[in-house]
Symmetry: C2
Subunit: 245 residues, 2 copies
DNA sequence: GTCAATATATTGTCCTGACAAACTATTGAC
DNA sequence: GTCAATAGTTTGTCAGGACAATATATTGAC
């Protein structure tokens, strides 16, 4: 029995995207089992009334996502699952919400400060330039999980306290018209200082995960710099990556 | 003055790839400055004697790499640098070598052991099944940096000690015919046990970065599982990621 | 001058067609 | 039986053309 796909030519959704989504759904729902060899492109195109390039574009999208593998002379195969979503700019808030953890945010401070050297370097402004600083504590199940400190260039108005308590920062920035394009992160570890320990309900010297991130917009300008501290006892970073041969 | 590209039709290298590489080189060398608007696709195609789909394919590759941004009705723009290479399966050995750190590897042990539950789960075999265990210490400048423990399914022969001291594990696996496709990593932190502290030349309780990784081949089968410990005082993970809107 | 309507430029999507390259399976020679 | 040559299948690359969607610049009305 073959899985049936249906293409709606009256829809404004691009044809390749329709097919791509239906293929992805079929894989996700287990209708296309791992290891399955897909129908070849030409047949698939004929069957759906599409051209081969359109079918290829749909398949290519899933290859890029890591769900399919193509081999010349062989065919296109469903990857053996376990590979879920590829790496994206993980919004801590969204990640937790997706995991059903119902995150809470306590905004500690929103204020304008002269940029320290580290922040100035990351944001590409002169040292001492005014920037917005946002300090938050993220909690799950009533216990602190992370201490988040973000710096934004002074140009725009900083997000409102109420908004920050209701959702994640990246969502707010996107809503405010900032198009995020890429980010650099560095993840390290260090021992908690007494102040950090108290804030996070840990003992001084306890191991903490530290993450520094600079986010860039379409034109490559830095739009955010954050230095975050996570309780190692309660949090790990999960990544998934594709290997480009 | 326009940057000149040259396409060699007698070469076996695909045309789109030739163009893609020359574009990338021009960006890398600063001949195409960040923010520059590229010549539009149709002109570029005509100028190079290529078809528009071929030019698009070349550009698309760099968009996927995060070097270019396209906007309908506007054009294709060079991203404002700072974004270097996207995330890949970072081989610690290669990373260090690229940074000019001249890594050294001390192979502590290569042996077959019954798989503990954690390893068995990751590799998808029954608990107690024999697997190869490789224990290594990685050093730079004569000082220990990380303690690496890898598990491989027992099917293949384990790599030779001499090879492991000369290069990285992934390179060896690739050379042995394993095609790596994707990997899942989790990065956390914890305090060093006395044994770990001694091995890594740290004090007991010092913060260590821990990384667990499962690597998969084309068909989605796990081919390697590793649990690694890094000295937080000497190492951080650097990631770079693109945001899919 | 300000604003809306129009024109223009550029990428996005889609089609048809063709040949090349790589892998698999079969066939045939020995 | 073993190996090499051959044929068939499937994806990879490339061409050329057409129209749509979107952003920007220009024009015109008020």
């Amino acid at each position: 029995m073959d899985v049936k796909f249906s293409i709606d030519r009256t829809s404004p959704v691009p044809l390749y995207f329709q097919l791509s989504q239906q293929l992805e759904a079929a894989i996700e729902h287990g209708e296309l089992l791992p290891g399955t060899l897909l129908v070849n492109e030409i047949d698939l195109a004929g069957r759906l009334g599409l051209s081969r390039p359109t079918v290829r574009q749909a398949i290519q999208a899933l290859v890029d996502k890591g769900l399919l593998v193509r081999r010349r002379g062989v065919g296109t195969q469903v990857v053996h699952s376990q590979v879920r979503r590829p790496l994206e700019l993980s919004s801590l808030y969204d990640d937790l919400a997706a995991a059903g953890q119902r995150p809470a945010t306590r905004v500690l401070d929103i204020t304008a400060v002269p940029a320290p050297a580290e922040v100035a370097g990351a944001l590409g402004v002169a040292e001492g330039t005014e920037v917005h600083r946002i300090e938050r504590l993220r909690l799950t199940h009533g216990a602190p999980l992370a201490y988040l400190r973000n710096y934004l260039p002074a140009g725009r108005r900083p997000p409102a306290r109420a908004d920050l308590e209701a959702t994640g920062l990246y969502r707010l920035m996107r809503a405010a018209g900032t198009t995020l394009h890429s980010a650099r992160q560095s993840i390290g570890a260090r021992a908690a200082t007494p102040g950090e320990a108290e804030l996070l309900d840990e003992s001084p010297g306890a191991p903490l995960l530290s993450m520094h991130r600079t986010a860039f917009d379409d034109s490559g300008r830095p739009v955010e710099y954050g230095t975050h501290l996570y309780r190692a006892s309660r949090y790990t970073f999960e990544l998934q990556l594709l290997i480009r041969s």
